[in-house]
Assembly symmetry: C2
Amino acid sequence: MSTSERKLHLNAFIRGAGHHEAAWRHPDTHPELSLDIQHFIQLAQTAERGLLDSLFLADGYVGKTNKLEPFTFLSALAAVTRHIGLIATVNTTYNEPFHIARKFASLDHISHGRAGWNIVTGSGSAEANFGRDEHPEHSLRYETAEEFVEVTKQLWDSWEDDALVYDKQSGTQFAHGKVHEINFKGKYYSVKGPLNIPRPPQGYPVLVQAGSSESGKELAARTAEVIFTAQQTFADGKAFYTDVKSRLAKYGRTPEQLHILPGISPILADTEAEAREIERELDNLIDTTDAVKRLSSRFGVDLSEYPIDGPVPLHEAKELEEVNGNKSRHQLVIDLVRNENLTIRQLVQRLAGARGHLTFTGTPLQMADVMEHWFKNGAADGFNVMPQLYPSGLDVFVEQVIPELQNRGLFRTAYEGQTLRENLGLVRPANLHQIPNLAVKQS
Amino acid sequence: MSTSERKLHLNAFIRGAGHHEAAWRHPDTHPELSLDIQHFIQLAQTAERGLLDSLFLADGYVGKTNKLEPFTFLSALAAVTRHIGLIATVNTTYNEPFHIARKFASLDHISHGRAGWNIVTGSGSAEANFGRDEHPEHSLRYETAEEFVEVTKQLWDSWEDDALVYDKQSGTQFAHGKVHEINFKGKYYSVKGPLNIPRPPQGYPVLVQAGSSESGKELAARTAEVIFTAQQTFADGKAFYTDVKSRLAKYGRTPEQLHILPGISPILADTEAEAREIERELDNLIDTTDAVKRLSSRFGVDLSEYPIDGPVPLHEAKELEEVNGNKSRHQLVIDLVRNENLTIRQLVQRLAGARGHLTFTGTPLQMADVMEHWFKNGAADGFNVMPQLYPSGLDVFVEQVIPELQNRGLFRTAYEGQTLRENLGLVRPANLHQIPNLAVKQS
């Protein structure tokens, strides 16, 4: 694909009433619909009207959350959409590869090739819901995740693409010798196979990664086809983009095989002043006491004992090595405080928009400018769009930002393919059992 | 509910091309649609047009099957149906209570209260797909299952029904003190909680059980609200019905709290002769070699070494104690051979229709007669309908058997309620934390 043809790839990051932590209190949102699939069907259909590549939602196994579970949620959406990709966040630390490979295969069949997997390893406290004593530390989680993904790939490949025959005449349902046991015996998993469902239409679901730590970047370079990342400035974004793309060659991969999509969390209005007014409105709705409590837990220091309009006491904060959750996000927050000399209140507001993702307040044209700048100057292949208010923020994005991006030749005017993989311009992976090299070796 | 008002409850047992093992070879079926959700959406909509209570599909974790996974499958159907209950078969031996409680809660929210759980403990060989050395023996699986169900109930109850507030003014999303840790520490599971999704609209999904062994019957009497069972004769059906209903009192339950639905697997046509012709056609399509191989594995003896038109060598077959899978089904097959002196070929044909469930070949009127007889004479509260051919068998059932049952006053003419529980006439379970007795104790 020549540079002139290169297009943005856009994902809608779905979240109840929106990404601003006080979104649910804003008059435009409907938090009481957080478990109502009709609310999300409308969002999905809006995103599809905007020709977005995909939608996804975050996930976790701890806490008092009012969210639907990803596989059930996305399968319901699959039945009432036709084009949009459906990306499920699924944890490798507290699941079985057989169940996960199967559910993704099933979602991929149901959606006719629109499934994606955002691979995460989880942050602390989930262990207590699964009879475990502790949350494994960061590097062990990544090592496990790699083996987990390897098992799922082998399971998806356990059915050759032409294994199903359905020859009524001869009575042959399955072609002879085209469904294989995998007999995987690794350090963490032992799985015999075959999978109990044929290979997904896409071969594998599109593999997505969101960790931006050192091991996260390395896993992404080896495995991922899309990265969701949080970058606060163009300079950081460009550095991250350059770093990750440069790691691909050693795994025999080209830069086009991995799309980097930074998060961008907009508040949009017809004028910048109106957008700023919405932002102020939202910031006034923040429950500061609660936000300070969460920041205190993140930093490992009780911030309520410090003046809220004074500096963040970084010298008291946890060292990176002590963090057992999202290391790269912790680093990002610390850098943010350092670089901008933020007070506690300023940091609370800064994180309220999108928990560390780049926020944007302005007009649709201004937003298109930012996206074009990042896209054309080596900082992004597209964006993970995180409206601070749902559904209104997505409506404005689809109705006003998308046409502007199309006018500039930066975004598709129709879906190119049938599957998420095709719309992302990604190759369908060959089946392990059908790779020509292996056939050559045997002959 | 007075006896005159008592109505049949009907479930459609979904299975690719139909329940006859050669159904996929019949000219009326479309086995190539076995992974196509549109095929199943049509079946679900047909069943809903027929006002059936629910649909369900069997499930397992071993073998070369071309079936969609239950949670993804039923969630997709939930998005395009409004009334029909959606019953997922989920195994307690190879799953985590937290994941399963969550997925059922999510399916129940998505379907606005139409989820059911067919609780199974699995048969052998699945262990190798989950890194385990052996499939636990029967009584251990049932003991584990009971604890598993207990944990899921506590997780569903971990959110009181009025825990969500969404008071934008005060900034209160969750009512104080209405979401609880469960801190469950049992023999097999340790789960802290709370669940990460609010209580299902139905309180709990409708709990279904299908094992008919001694421990199966006892678990059902204590826990289940619906039983799917295989009974070959009216006498067997009546004995089973009487036995199970009599076990309810000791758990403080009434007969109305548990519906017993024997399987019935019909081949329907306008005349009995035509129906017999379809039956012959199907029996001729059976792959006898393959069927004998499966029977051999069931009996633990190589039947291909015996004359196919000679008697089944029962004296060589496995004792009940050696069976690690479905004991009650094994007993049923042995009784069938004994009572009817079947040859190997006859047994093959007998099981081909519905693997041991009652088969029926005839007209819609004749089928209504059988159903009425069982229903009015203490052998059934309804049926698990298992058409030998899909979709044609379900079409005929809905278009011709249902109106006949309605004419006889045996079946609803409109859905009575909004949820599966309401349509089944089952009470919504109180939340553990909101039971008046407990409140009294505390005061």
